[in-house]
């Protein structure tokens, strides 16, 4: 199986239909006046359908803010965000909420699962919130691929960190969302569990054409991606196709990280 070719976009061009998510002129400012912080200072970026992209950058570069804005979790100060043909920046809170549960999947660094629900209930939660029934065959396939079949009745407190994160990945994949956003998904895991989770994310891209966007500060995690987008001081600072841990590390050094 061959990896889909990463697509570069040029700012200002009409959106190619192959983009899953796209942002133009994105700014996000916290505070105002002299104390204002420009977390994003004008970012144009696009993420191709069926690709695994990593967003990287030093602390404070704005990579988390970028992901929050792309995922409809935070409202940008300026610019536009498109999910497919939908402009997120025009939606009201309730519409955004519905869009999140129907078209976006999330994997977070920590506190990913609801402690009062068991693994199965956690996995189907977004679909239930949307009032949809999960496709049983697809549910079985996802659960089998993530090795969770024996753990479905367990509550999060009874699962290891790696197992919890696999449940979170299953939850993100179950609704076949347009994009899965992962925010430091390996940040709280030991290296073996981390590698497992990254493998699962990559294989979902390779085998089912899932689009995945991941924020990370770990070069070896970024090496699992098809493409790395580099961010510094709230601006795009370059990108790397078919990255390895070494190329990513040296690129980051170049940014002064």
């Amino acid at each position: 199986m061959s990896a889909p070719v990463p697509v570069m976009t040029v700012p200002g061009e009409p959106p190619p239909t192959t983009d899953a998510v796209r942002a133009t002129g994105l700014t996000r400012t916290y505070g105002r006046g002299a104390t204002a912080v420009h977390a994003l200072a004008g970012v144009d970026v696009a993420f191709a359908r069926g690709a695994f992209t990593a967003i990287m950058g030093p602390s404070g570069s704005g990579k988390s803010t970028l992901m929050h804005c792309l995922a409809g979790l935070d409202a940008p100060t300026g610019g536009q965000v498109f999910l497919g043909d939908t402009e997120l920046t025009r939606l009201r809170d309730d519409q955004l909420t519905k869009l999140r549960r129907e078209r976006i999947g999330f994997v977070f660094q920590s506190f990913n699962l609801l402690p009062v629900l068991d693994a199965r209930e956690n996995i189907v939660l977004p679909m239930q919130l949307a009032g949809r029934r999960p496709d049983p065959a697809w549910f079985d396939a996802v659960v089998a691929r993530l090795g969770l079949r024996d753990r479905l009745r367990h509550r999060p407190a009874e699962l290891s960190g790696g197992q919890q994160q696999r449940v979170a990945v299953a939850r993100a994949l179950l609704s076949r969302p347009d994009v899965v956003f992962a925010d430091e998904p390996t940040g709280n895991l030991d290296s073996r569990s981390g590698a497992e989770v990254l493998d699962l994310l990559r294989s979902s891209v390779r085998e089912t054409g899932q689009t995945v966007v991941m924020v990370t500060h770990d070069p070896s995690a970024a090496a699992y991606a098809d493409r790395v987008v580099l961010l510094a001081d709230g601006r795009l600072a370059g990108e790397i196709d078919s990255p390895t841990a070494d190329t990513v590390l040296s690129a980051l050094r170049g940014l002064g990280a």
Partner: protein, 820 residues
Amino acid sequence: MFRVTLSGLRAHAARLVASTVAIVIAVGFVVATLTLSETTRDTMLEAVGARYVSAEVVVTSTTGEPVDGVAREIAGVPGVQAVDLATSTSVQALVPGRSGAQYLLVDSVAEDPALRWQQLADGALPDRPGEAAVSERVGADVGDVITVTTYAEDGVEESSQVTVVGVVDLGGDPGAGLNGRAFVSGDQVQAWGALGPSEVRVAGTGGTDADALAATVRDALAGQDVDVRTGEEQAVREAEGLTGDAEVLTLMLLVFGTVALLVAGLVIANTFAVLLAQRTRELALLRCVGATARQIRRSVLAEAALTGVAASALGVGVGIGLAALVSALVGTDSPIPLAGVSVPLSAVLGGLAVGTLTTLVAALAPARAATRVAPLAALRPLDPAPLRSRGGLLRLVAGLLLVVPGAAAMALGTAESEVLLSVGGGALSFLGVVLLAQRAIPPVVAATGRLVRSGGVTARLAGGNATRNPRRTAATATALLIGVTLTTAMVVGAASTRATAQAGLAAQYPTDVVVTGNTDDGIPAALPGRLATIDGVRAAAGLSAGGVTGPDGYEGWTLGVDPAQAAPVLRSTDDLPLPSEGTAVLPWWTVEGWGVEDGGEVVLTGDDGAARTFTVALGDTDHPLLTTADLESLDPDAVADTVWLRLDDGADQADVVDEITDVAGSLVPTASVSGLASERAALDEVVDVLLLIVTGLLGVAVLIALIGVGNTLALSVVERRQENGLLRALGLTRGQVRGLLAWEATLVAGVAAVLGVLLGAGYGLIGVASVLGGQGEVVLSFPWLQVAAIVVVATVAGLVASVLPARRAARIPPVAALAG
């Protein structure tokens, strides 16, 4: 360390609001009760004391004999200016413009102006027989002529007339609203049958010291059967006699105040436990930088003490304000008159002490827990899992040790009609129930949560959330449970008490209203039918009366009744059976007088000498009762004489009785109307008013408990900030977040309400059975509607308590989940 406590208080002020409000309400309640009680006492003292204002010394008999014998001696005592022999009696009086005779209490007016205490609203005080001053209640104006009926010693009715010369303002006298009062000259009181003076009021010459004068008079009267007191002492003494009832009420109110404090204590303990749980890291950091466990505990207790003092001070203010409000609303025109506010120092100090102590005691356990925080906890991520405590087992054992003997005592007390045993057992077992509830509630909430799982994903999440911190849920629900249990017990108890009392009243007085013609010619045959058409009269039965000779040879007044017609009129035939053909219902005195027995036979003789034998049924009747046909067979001259009436239950009894009086009076001028309709209505009213007061008071406890529900939810919202953010990120809309909290509140409040109602119903029924069981048959009545209303109100109020926390939860941005 104290500086840390202070800044901590400032930082957490918002979260202490619930504790503060709980204490303010509870303390305010206690202070208002004490203040109102003191105000009542002062108002009464002033009102009762009015008649002693001008008297330096009052001499009363210790034996009840008239005291006129000592008057002359007193008058001779140096320093005595005037002596008044106070006499009193009572009369029936007809006032122009008012129908029916009224009962007047008559007092003599002092001859010497120095001893006249009455405040005139109009006119003057009487100087001679034939004149009278009356209280406003009488409804007469200056110039009216009042016709007074008295009875001489031989029982002969005498009539006399007096002219009203003045109207007296009695102010807050508690007797002013009940009966009319008349003030006449001493001679007139004697003429109306007074029994000689009951007390001698003495005025001193100008500038005399009351105590010194009393001592002089006491010396002069040494050896006689009299008490000598100063006017002030006498006023206090009489006011105390009158405020006896008010003191029972105060005691009752304080019991409810205690309940409110108990509930407030639970809410406060909960708040502190949660506040400290959230500050584990902060406390651990303090330990890391060198604070000892002792210092931590002192800091927590100092925080509680400061909160307690501030809230109690506020509560004292609120209580006094509340008392002033009640006083202004009630005024002096009520059975318990109130004028202004008298704040006893004991209420202020007591309120402060009780509020602060409750807060401190409630904070003790959380403070102890805080000292167990290890310094390392500052460096570890927070563990949200609830801790299993040793206290749980202790509670279970203590609870069972209280419940089992308590319930046994209650059962024994009910069986043996030993009220004190039942009450003690009830209190003991309820304490045990409160302890056990802490353990029992979480599983019940969990089970209920599983039941509502079909309510969708939010209901399911809420069910899980409600039992995440079992101890907190238990404490929250227990506070509500206490209030609901006591309210229900009161409502159920009152309903059964009323039913029992009404049944007793119905058996004893089966007719609501009796109209008697009081004439030998009989009443018009149409009267019963005419009375039956009055709005509010449900049924009427006419009775005839005639003369029948009994076995003792004397002819006696005998009534004839149509059983078919009378049956729907009587509320009960338990004590008064209706005669059937050939049966005579006889009064109890005939057992001795005629030598008859129930079920035996009696021979009655008619006008023409013909004798008939009747079967005897004994009953509560003044005269023998036969069927109309039987009476006519013995006395063909029997005339229609009496009408029995039954009123509609919902009718305004007073209005209906007034109309009956009018109709009967217009057809038969001599007719008199009597009956227990008004007593029945009065009983209902008393029970209703008591119930209203008690429910209102317990409502305070429920209110405090609901503040606790809101508080617990608010703290959960703070704790679950990240989790709620995650839910928002995963697609929970703001409305669904609010729904989540609403479900959680409803679940906890609903379970507490249902359990409380079940417990309360049990306690209420047992309470009635043990209190009334000793006094005859108990009629148990269960007010389904009111009990259902309690459940609904408590649950809905829980829902309302979730509104503010839910709004805060819905505002949490989804990004909050990622900022972890």
